[in-house]
Amino acid sequence: MRKKSSYQLIQGNEAVAEGALAAGVSFFAGYPITPSTEIAEILADRLPAEGGKFIQMEDEIGSIAAIIGASIGGRKALTATSGPGFSLMQENLGFACLAEVPLVIVNVMRGGPSTGMPTSPSQGDVMQSRWGTHGDHPIIVLSPASVEEAFHYTVKAVNFAEKYRNPVILLMDEIIGHMRARVSLPPTSMVERFNRVHPNMPPEWYLPYERSATGVAPMASFGDGYRHHVTGLVHDAKGFPTADPNEAKNNIRGLFSKIERGFREICLVDFELMEDAEHAIIAYGGMVLSARSALEQLRQSGRKVGLIKLGTLWPFPRFALEQYLPQLKTILVPELNMGQIYREVLRVNAGKTVVEKLNRVNGTIITPNEIVKTVKGLIR
């Protein structure tokens, strides 16, 4: 509990741990992996003093399984990992989507594929975070672009998970994870917390997957007297497995509709100098820092360039782009991957304007000067 707001010099991973505590996370299960390990170390230290619990599991499969179990027991639960561990979590991520279990996975991205470049930055897991687990499923993915945002987005991730009964992925790159900055952390009492809605009807009336008017079913914790069944099989409103086509449709469509209802709230997008912009840079995570610096230089030299900063990657905030398409002549998407968000931008753009990509996959960042040069080339 932080009673007053305080300035601290911390790194992104520390900000995530602070955000988790501020959001009311009281359970963490994880497995050591670079470059996310600081989050586990800090929460192992801090959780017990807050009455929370930490456990180091035998692998990342067990880590996500344990946080699902703890969440079903009523705790706000979070884990942190990086690419190889995130790959191992995909199986149970799907379970959490289908069984509608609130949880947060922090993925501090490193270079891939496979063991890749463990200490180097990358944004290679954008598509994996969307489609990594099998089957159609909704997902919420947030990507912070500063140390301070790492704190606030962690809080939002926990709140969205609780509100929508859905896993949320905090997709952070190693740049933000290990960058140190002086940030102001608010007092705990000022942090907005959302707690999952519990059932208030008598237990014998409770249907664990009957959606309320919000599109989300109230969630009972095991041990609260609302005995019910949780399964990874497609299920009916009672939570029991079904092969009935109509019930199966209601189950899967219901997962999507709850996220569609919250689409505007979930989509975190910031616009910088976009009012008169004829050219846009679309960036997220650590690339926002290079883009912002490039923007300054380009504006100084009289180019009408703006920045669309994506805080939410999935669901893709298409309206943020669509509203500016009529005024834009070019769009540049710099990413530390081979063009994963670029494809989404192309899809939304649908041929209306020129979209270019700027990519890097060698463990180094794209510098502001490179962005300046590329934008100037595009404008010409």
């Binding site: 017990p48 619990k53 067990g62 179990g69 027991g73 949780v230």
Partner: protein, 284 residues
């Protein structure tokens, strides 16, 4: 003892469409029924029981019974149960898992749960085969026996589950067969009362796949075989290893008291909180 109709009324879900998915002659129902009798004998509150499973024929057990039930992913019942137990230590957590679920895909989770000594009771339904997928060899299929992925005979050596979990650090290990129904009840009762990680291995039969391809006869024949090969630990201790070849030792094979994970974590919480209070006191 509770009558069959009372048992069905009290513990089975009335709002779940029966029949169950198990084949005629399957041993899983016998084990589940006797697990429920053990629970009833202990007079546990249904709200305080969590029943967790993985995937396979055994994995379907929780859906039928009126507890807090979780049917998880293949091999992962134990880490789900671990998270739940830590979140709600007051719950009695029971895990139902098959031989493939527990010792192949979930083998790593099994040995680490043993090592941690977290207060969970794991019942391993060992029928020597993957039944739900139609009869492929599992880590407990005996050497030389057949399955639909080793029609010429299994060239792998099987795990002895009870020895495996004992070596991994389980603090209670019991074994019986689906023939020995009263022993199922008595061992499960003791396993639930045991503070720490308890494993009950129950040898059972799959007449549909393992029985058919290995020409073991009917379900009744397979039960008779379980009766014949079982030898109680008290007798087995006096027999020499030659005599014990091909026999299955039953009973409580091992029991010891060691610090339990959740209780130890509670002392960590107390220590961390008093440390924090001291630091806050100093800074004032």
């Amino acid at each position: 003892m509770i009558s069959n109709s009372q048992l069905v009324n009290k513990y089975f879900r009335h709002n779940k469409k029966f029949p169950h998915i198990w084949c005629p002659g399957c041993g899983i129902g016998t084990i589940l029924g006797n697990m429920l009798r053990a629970v009833d004998a202990l007079a546990l509150d249904k709200n305080e029981i969590a029943f967790v499973s993985g995937i396979g024929c055994t994995g379907r057990a929780p859906v039928y019974v009126d507890f807090n039930t979780m049917h998880t992913t293949h091999g992962r019942a134990l880490p789900f149960a671990t998270g739940l137990k830590l979140a709600r230590p007051e719950l009695k957590v029971l895990v139902a898992t098959g031989d493939g679920d527990a010792t192949a895909i979930g083998g790593n989770h099994l040995i680490h749960a043993c090592r941690r000594n977290i207060d969970i009771t794991t019942i391993i339904f060992n029928n020597y085969i993957y039944g739900m997928t139609g009869g492929q060899y599992s880590p407990t299929t005996p050497h030389g026996d057949k399955a639909y992925t080793c029609k010429l005979g299994n060239i792998e050596r099987p795990f002895n589950i009870s020895q495996l979990v004992e070596a991994a650090g389980a603090t209670f290990v019991g074994r019986t067969t689906s023939y020995h129904t009263l022993q199922i009840q008595s061992i499960i009762k003791k396993a639930i009362l045991h503070k720490g990680f308890s494993v009950v291995e129950i040898i059972t039969h799959c007449p549909t796949t393992y029985g058919r391809i290995n020409k073991k006869g009917s379900a009744v024949d397979m039960l008779k075989w379980q009766k014949e090969v079982a030898v109680d630990k008290s007798r087995a201790d006096k027999m020499d290893p030659k005599e014990l070849e091909g026999r299955i030792v039953t009973g409580i094979l091992m029991e010891k008291q060691l610090p339990e994970f959740c209780e130890q974590y509670d002392t960590i919480i107390e220590e961390a909180q008093s440390l924090k209070n001291n630091q806050q006191g100093k800074s004032k």
